[in-house]
């Protein structure tokens, strides 16, 4: 059976196509202004990679902030539900999932089938989401791709008090005037973000098998800060930004845990 999951994220649209629960294609397109058009582009790319046509798709599930804006779908499923399903599929021992995307941070506890038991979402604040690192890397004039690795070179722990992206930016300006190194500032940013995310996760509780998904999971600086905050080593899947779309495709296939 061929199924497709579409994750209509606020910044990127991710598509995963499964054949008998094996990934045969995936795509990632900037959401941009015309989300529907970008969604179609992402789907077309994935279909081309899978060498199939739309009619070959048995079922399509859409998820993400713009789930209803997907060009076509059979049903929708919540992001937290898809994240859990995808994370448990990739690492069956997973019982806690953290998703840090561009716009939101989420924490969830689930059972062995990926069913959500409890969840929390970081609302109305970019300081716990990918937008925060983007704003800070811009302020420090460091390319985003290098921002995480840079923070691993930090020599000092400098607390960043601001819990808000706007105020954090002015705090960074103060650090610049105080001649704090870029590496130390980058670490301060990741520590602040991790502090916010880990406090959200503590609300729901966590076990030792914690899987980190979403685009920010690729930021090694943030992962390092989070590991220290939670006092464990989070599991980071190979393509963490695709886990939501993978969960959506798994949901479309009716996967409920196990092999």
């Amino acid at each position: 059976m061929i199924t497709m999951g579409i994750d209509m994220g606020s910044k990127y649209i991710k598509v995963v196509i499964l054949k008998d629960n094996k990934v045969i294609a995936k795509s990632n397109v900037l959401a941009g202004f015309d989300v529907k058009k970008s969604g179609q582009e992402a789907i077309d790319k994935a279909l081309k990679e899978a060498k199939i046509k739309k009619d070959d798709l048995k079922k399509v599930i859409s998820t993400g902030t713009g789930e209803k804006l997907a060009p076509f779908y059979d049903d929708t499923k919540s992001v937290v539900g898809c994240d859990s399903l995808g994370a448990v599929f990739l690492h069956p021992a997973t019982r806690t999932v953290i998703d840090v995307g561009a716009e939101e941070g989420r924490g969830m506890r689930c059972d062995e089938t990926g069913k959500i038991l409890d969840f929390e979402v970081n609302e109305k604040c970019a300081a716990g989401a990918g937008a925060f690192t983007e704003a800070m890397s811009r302020a420090l004039e460091v390319p985003l791709e290098e921002f995480g690795a840079l923070s691993l070179k930090a020599t000092e722990e400098i607390p960043m008090n601001a819990q808000c992206t706007v105020f954090a930016e002015s705090e960074v300006v103060t650090m610049v005037h105080n001649k704090v190194s870029k590496a130390n500032m980058a670490k301060a940013v990741h520590d602040a973000m991790s502090s916010r995310i880990s406090s959200m996760v503590r609300k729901i509780g966590f076990d030792k098998d914690v899987t980190l998904v979403g685009g920010v999971a690729k930021n090694v600086g943030f992962v390092d800060s989070l590991n220290k905050d939670l006092d464990l080593k989070v599991i980071v899947p190979k393509d963490p930004e695709y886990v939501g779309a993978l969960g959506a495709a798994l949901s479309a296939s009716g996967w409920k845990g196990g092999k």
């Binding site: 919540s78 069913k115 038991l117 409890d118 609300k203």
Partner: protein, 447 residues
């Protein structure tokens, strides 16, 4: 996602009457002076049987429902909020209070007369009246905002005689004779104050009647909520909001007591008997907590898509309703005291003793008391989950919710918490809240 229709449903027959009572209340207050009557202002929790002893032509306006009424009129609410903020009152203060103050500052009442001369809400085409200044303020103080609220009202209006009763004497399970008398003595002083500022003689017979009305309103409302233990629930929370509000307006008023006892309660009993559901596809039952975001009651209708009914909350059950533990250990309506009043002291003592058991006052003393009551509702009303509103607009009722969440989870109830504001729509994100509801419905198996 549409779910299977399982039960018959029909609109409440007494719905229009409830609306008429509410509209008349605001009309009576606005027009009180035209007929030589008096206007007074105070909170929804104030001991409103006391001013009733001044005469049958003394009309109240209670603060919280007034703030909520403005919140429902989004355009007016925004003007009120902005006016209050311009005066320097910050956004983290009680949002009902900011609506109320704003209404005075811009001098707009959310009601008025339309082209046909009918008294209607502003959003139905009325040219709004100016804010009708109260003749006196009669307030209680248990919430941190209450007395301060009216101090500002008095200042904004150039001075209004004001009396505030301190009723924060501790939880009902630690109630003592001296605590009751502490409040009673204040009420007695208050009656003297009212006589002085109005120039009227106080009538104890009217006081007795009002206290009895209070007993009936609060007990019958609880009895109505108790009927929602039935499956299917005869009432859904969105409708409950429109019904409980009458008690917040004038619980000691005869029209409210009569409505609860003679109209609403018999009709809801009949609905239970006939199996008439508020939500015909009811399959899942949840409750909420604290005031809702009034401009976005549609989230309760959104639940219905999943066959989920919100059966009420400790807030709607216990803000006005009075409860007691029955012989079988379940929660039921408080028994109406069978007492003939023979003196002011005796009547006030019984009134205070009864009222200090109000469930919604208990968690000002301990969040654990609230958790216990919520878990009881969860079990007795047979719920599958709880939706908690981290309400930025009301610190008083929001404090302790994080503890309530943990207690409910420990008791086995899935919980969804969402952020919002009861009266400031700028602090509620409808799309994100609906996304959370989607996830929560998956959690409880409704999707």
């Amino acid at each position: 996602m549409e779910t299977e229709i399982k039960y018959p449903t029909e609109k409440l027959k007494c719905w229009n009457k409830a609306k008429e009572i509410r509209l008349k209340y605001y009309k009576d207050y606005a027009e009180a002076h035209d007929n030589g009557g008096l206007r007074w202002a105070g909170g929804a929790w104030t001991f409103d049987a006391i001013p009733a002893g001044l005469g049958d032509d003394v009309y109240p306006i209670t603060s919280e429902p007034y703030g909520a009424t403005i919140a429902f009129d989004k355009d007016l609410s925004m003007k009120c909020m902005e006016a209050a903020e311009k005066e320097g009152y910050p956004r983290d203060l009680c949002s009902y209070m900011r609506n109320y103050w704003g209404s005075i500052i811009i001098d707009k009442y959310p009601f008025g007369y339309d082209d046909k001369g009918e008294f209607v809400p502003r959003f139905q085409g009325a040219k709004p009246l100016g804010f009708p200044k109260p003749d006196f303020i009669w307030q209680d103080h248990i919430c941190c905002s209450h007395a301060k609220w009216y101090q500002v009202v008095s200042d904004l209006e150039g001075g209004i005689p004001m009396f505030t009763v301190d009723n924060a004497v501790g939880p009902s399970n630690e109630l003592t004779d001296s605590k009751i008398k502490y409040v009673v003595e204040q009420l007695k002083d208050g009656i003297k104050f009212l006589e002085k500022v109005t120039g009227r003689d106080y009538n104890d017979e009217l006081l007795y009647k009002a206290i009895k009305n209070h007993f009936v309103s609060t007990s019958r409302w609880a009895e109505t909520c108790e009927l929602n233990k039935a499956i299917p629930a005869p009432l859904d929370e969105k409708s409950i909001y429109s019904l409980y509000v009458l008690g917040t307006l004038q619980k000691a008023g005869k029209q409210v007591a009569d409505f609860y006892e003679k109209d609403l309660l018999p009709e809801v009993k009949e609905r239970v008997k006939k199996g008439i559901a508020a939500v015909p596809n009811e399959k899942f039952r949840v409750m909420s907590d604290t005031q809702p975001p009034w401009s976005f009651l549609s989230i309760f209708r959104y639940l219905e898509k999943f066959g989920c009914v919100s059966i009420g909350s400790l807030y709607t059950f216990g803000l006005i309703g009075q409860w007691e533990e029955k012989e079988d250990g379940t929660w039921g309506a408080k028994t109406i005291p069978d007492i003939d009043f023979s003196s002011r002291d005796q009547a006030l003592y019984e009134y205070v003793k009864y009222e200090l058991h109000k469930p919604e006052w208990q968690h000002f003393y301990s969040c654990h008391l609230k958790s216990d009551m919520m878990i009881r509702i969860g079990k007795e009303w047979k719920l599958q989950g709880v939706m908690l509103h981290y309400n930025r607009g009301c610190e008083g009722l929001t404090v302790g919710i994080a503890e309530n969440r943990l207690a409910l989870l420990d008791a086995g109830f899935p919980v969804m918490a969402f952020e919002g504001n009861n009266a400031d729509e700028r602090e509620f994100d409808e799309a994100r809240t609906k996304a959370k509801i989607n996830a929560f419905m998956e959690t409880i198996g409704a999707k």
